[in-house]
Symmetry: C2
Subunit: 177 residues, 2 copies
DNA sequence: TCGAACTAGTCAATATCTGAACTAGTTTCC
DNA sequence: GGAAACTAGTTCAGATATTGACTAGTTCGA
């Protein structure tokens, strides 16, 4: 049997509840760690979902497709494996996505001159035009998200997140292949 | 033609490159916003992937299944729609996941007494035991991630992320249903 | 009180991601 | 010079997500 929980329990109430029960009833020691990572994932999910729904889906583009085009746009002609590393996707995902984007005429796949196994992805004229155009809207919406923080707060946030990312190496974390 | 880019361009070099080109060549105004959100997503992806690979997959559990069990564990018997709200998944995803977890005997689905349309998800004895056990390992690994930050830094990080999450309401962002 | 509008959950179709197997080209080193 | 080990990319099967349609129960108002 349970107390009738509020049907409208929201994210913060849940975090508070989790903190309380994990420490109080079960004696887990690292409540703050749980809170940090729950909040991190939540923030990331919300931002990603919003940008995808507001900017990219209406143009018929998936979030992943945008990320791939984004890194190819800025990091120049790029091997699929490099694109996978920068986006954090698997090589298989890049391969599948690229197939569609090549068919749509946004991406070009040219064989590497030096290494016959390899391939370079680059933007076509149409791909470049689309990125410049779509990023205008993307960037405005990003700014909408971060505007609630001062510039100093934004820099601190980046610094703390960077620390977290770097720290994982010492912690022998697993990486995507 | 392009300068031969370093084949081992890493995440930070990419962020630096993106900043430079977006502002310099294209004149986009909100570089810092882009940097904040790129870093946020990256950190979240790395942490999630690591916890899934190190703690949950070896036990045959997906990240989503863990999240669902986690909210049901702590927020008590819960309707699928409430679980969807807390985890950030769609109702359909909760429904599918729950089907499997009920079949495995970790989750119980009982009809709601008041509302004939509704259902309440709760942990079975086995489900509860598994959560207590698996969370021990999960929490240790979470602590490994956050240990690179001082307690004060962790609190600041949570505060900044909370601000970001709250801010989105004023920005009329879209939410998951 | 009865029908219209609404809400909860599930199902079906589609999309995408992952890991593993596979193909093909390159490097190593005896 | 050539076989073995390695590496890049693709393909395939399986898992899991999303949206939208659908079923069933509830609520509200004429």
């Amino acid at each position: 049997m349970s107390v009738s929980e509020p049907a409208d329990l929201d994210f913060w109430s849940f975090v508070a509840l989790a903190n309380e029960r994990l420490a109080g009833e079960y004696g887990f020691r690292h409540q703050l760690a749980t809170e940090v990572l729950l909040t991190l994932n939540r923030a990331s999910d919300l931002v990603t979902y919003d940008l995808e729904a507001a900017v990219h889906r209406p143009r018929g583009r998936s979030w992943s497709a945008f990320r791939l085009l984004f890194v190819v746009w800025l990091a120049g002609p790029l091997e699929p494996s490099g694109a996978a590393r920068l986006t954090g996707m698997s090589r298989a995902a890049v391969s599948n996505l690229a197939k569609g984007l090549v068919a749509e005429g946004l991406l070009a796949r040219t064989p590497d001159e030096r290494d016959g196994r390899s391939v370079r992805l680059s933007l076509t004229g149409a791909g470049h035009a689309e990125m410049v155009d779509v990023f205008r809207e993307h960037n405005e919406r990003e700014a909408g998200w971060t505007a609630v923080l001062t510039e100093a707060e934004q820099r601190i946030l980046v610094m703390l997140l960077d620390k977290l990312i770097i720290g994982h190496r010492e912690f022998e974390a697993r990486n995507r292949r």
